[in-house]
């Protein structure tokens, strides 16, 4: 259960992996997958063959080894030749990294800003369209649990069905309702008028849904619209100005850093520095290591930004429904 609805449902050091649990199999930071544990089940990856039966009764966070056959190329590990992985308890953050991409998804930076700026707390009711791959939906559910509710809409039938299955598998069904509906042309259901503390829109033409979002929100409720292109933001802001206030547009990026045990070359050997150069031909033929004389090494942990990063995900526009008479 990804978001525990009672204290005993959460993964602790004493809670053991049982049949039916979803675990996140961690190979590397950028290589994970979600696996539903079942008796007799088998996972095969580049580190070998892993039997689910070996996982039952172990705590989340444990390290499990492949069973001989096909092992090879493992990540070191104690047992001869056997590869290993770690079995993690699923969280909305891990889910975002392992879910099937049915659409472009939101990642942790946008998600956490959305939850904070929508001012979601337990008990809130939040509406979302479209559901997409359910990446944000899962975090919305955690934010409003245990007594709140997420109503999410997608016009794409297959997508809604897949999302519903995912939520079911992750134990979120009691928090999330998935409906098939084209919010851009039909708006949110009339009967939900004034029901939402917050509304989130990730639509190609958000301006079409904004009047309906205004009707669906409680007074002073917060709307967020996510769009990759600035033209969508411009039209959305224009549509918001009549009924919304405090309209603010943000962009959030995450810069990541890489760490290594470093060794910068020094330059303190002044005698060498003052010596005349040797004939150039001979120097060229020396192997590189031999020419590093006069250079000292100093060692420490070095850190620098990673070279590549997501340069843009989208713009987040937040606005608050104007309170009558203000």
């Amino acid at each position: 259960m990804m978001v525990p609805l009672n204290p005993s449902a959460k993964p602790t050091s004493q809670r053991r992996i049982a049949e039916g649990d979803t675990v996140v199999v961690y190979e590397r930071h950028d290589a994970m997958r979600a696996v539903a544990v079942r008796a007799g089940g088998v996972l095969q990856n580049r580190f070998g063959v892993f039997r689910h039966d070996d996982w039952l009764g172990r705590p989340f966070g444990c390290k499990v080894y492949s069973t001989g056959g096909g092992g090879g190329g493992g990540r070191g590990g104690g047992k001869a030749g056997a590869g290993f992985v770690h079995l993690l308890a699923p969280t909305p953050e891990l889910w975002t990294l392992v879910l099937s991409h049915r659409t472009q998804i939101l990642y942790i930076a946008d998600i956490s800003l959305v939850v904070a700026y929508l001012e979601l707390v337990p008990g809130c009711v939040v509406f979302e369209s479209g559901t997409g791959s359910g990446s944000l939906t899962t975090s919305l559910a955690r934010a409003v649990a245990p007594h709140g509710r997420v109503c999410t809409f997608d016009f794409h039938e297959q997508r809604a069905t897949s999302a519903r299955e995912d939520f079911e598998r992750n134990g979120l069904s009691s928090l999330i309702t998935v409906a098939v509906r084209d919010i851009q042309s039909e708006g949110f259901p009339e009967e939900q008028r004034g029901a939402a503390d917050a509304v989130f829109l990730d639509l190609p033409q958000p301006w079409l849904a904004i009047p309906s979002a205004g009707i669906t929100l409680k007074q002073d409720g917060v709307l967020c619209s996510f769009s990759p292109c600035i033209e969508q933001v411009q039209r959305a802001c224009e549509a918001m100005r009549s009924c919304f206030t405090d309209i603010r547009t943000f962009e959030i990026l995450l810069r990541t850093y890489e760490v290594r045990e470093g060794a910068l070359k020094g330059a303190t050997d002044n005698e060498e520095c003052n010596a005349g150069p040797l004939p150039q031909k001979r120097r060229r033929l020396l192997p590189p290591a031999k020419t590093l004389d006069g250079i000292q090494n100093s060692s420490s942990v070095m850190v620098r930004p990673c070279s590549t990063a997501k340069g843009h995900t989208g713009y987040l526009t937040f606005a608050r429904l104007r309170v009558h008479g203000s």
């Binding site: 204290p7 050091s13 953050e93 707390v121 007074q219 411009q234 990541t256």
Partner: protein, 398 residues
Amino acid sequence: MQDAADGHVQNETRDNRSLVDNNTAQNLSSDDIEAMKRDGASGDTIVEALIANSSTFGKKTVFSQEKYKLKKQKKYAPKVLLRRPSTRSICETYFKKSPARIGFMRVDALSLLLSMANVGPYSDVLVVDMVGGLVVGAVAERLGGTGYVCSTYLGSSPSSIDIIRMYNLSSDMTSRIVQAPLGDLCSLQNSFNASSVLKDSIQAEGPEPNTVPVENTEPSIPQPVDTTVSDEKVQSSEIQPTNIDISEPTMDEQINQDDNSSLDCKGNDGSSIASKSLRAGKAPSPERMKYWNEHGFSSLIVAAPGHEVESFVADLLPLLSYSAPFAIYHQYLQPLAACMHSLQVSKTAIGLQISEPWLREYQVLPSRTHPHMQMNAFGGYILSGIRIHNGDACNGIQ
């Protein structure tokens, strides 16, 4: 923003070629303005007078006209917004008014900490909060009266968590905030003897260190939060990361008293809110301590922006459940790098990543959309990861 000021740049015929820069364009002197103020003129009236007395206003482009107007309005007729406090507004206000107090933690960094530490219902969140209580309050808000936030501290003196008074916490939510010295948590962890565990924690429970009285005792009738903090309390926040002035901000966000409807559904999911003399930051009960010792905390957040965190984290990590995520905030990169490196070497955590959020706000207006010209260029660094069971034998704890 004025909807009327829609003038598209491309249709302009006026430009500023004939404007001469000689500072004589305004016919109203500063004495005149002072006199108007003394006579009780409103800010809007003064702005109108300034426009009427500007010899160049009419020659300016629509864009320049509006810029002029906004500038003058900001100076003479500032607007005040009333709004209920939330993590968002509390963090934004502190970041603007006294960023050093909260270790330069911007709202996007705080939001990331909460996500990265998987804070949700029934979480038992271990927190090191040396940012005045900002993190403790934000976690309590997310817990919504379930689970626990255990604020731990080094040495014998708890860190100030005064900022939690700014949050609109119900008594139910406040009761979920406990404080315990790291030593007690560690000694529990190290002892396999349940009785010594209980002894230690009972000892800790005695004096209720640094208990913060919560003004807001009747959450069903929200009160404006207290905006001033006594000198004594400011002095007690001794572990501030830097030495700059840490005067308390004047919160302009206040509870909107006429707007209970939207508050009703939130924060206090119908449970008991009756207790009057509620206090945050009690010591946890022995049973609670025993539970945490056996089950581990569900996650960890460290916000100690003036400290080395490497050894800190080495002490804290064993207190977590296996598979529990953690997030460590810092205003400097190097301490996080050292910490990440030692975690990599010790193989006690995986999924390690140092990240820095980069937040940008935009002005979106017809024909003049662009990022804000001034920005907060820095909101802090975060090291995140997941505690793992690093033994090869995997059938029990420890």
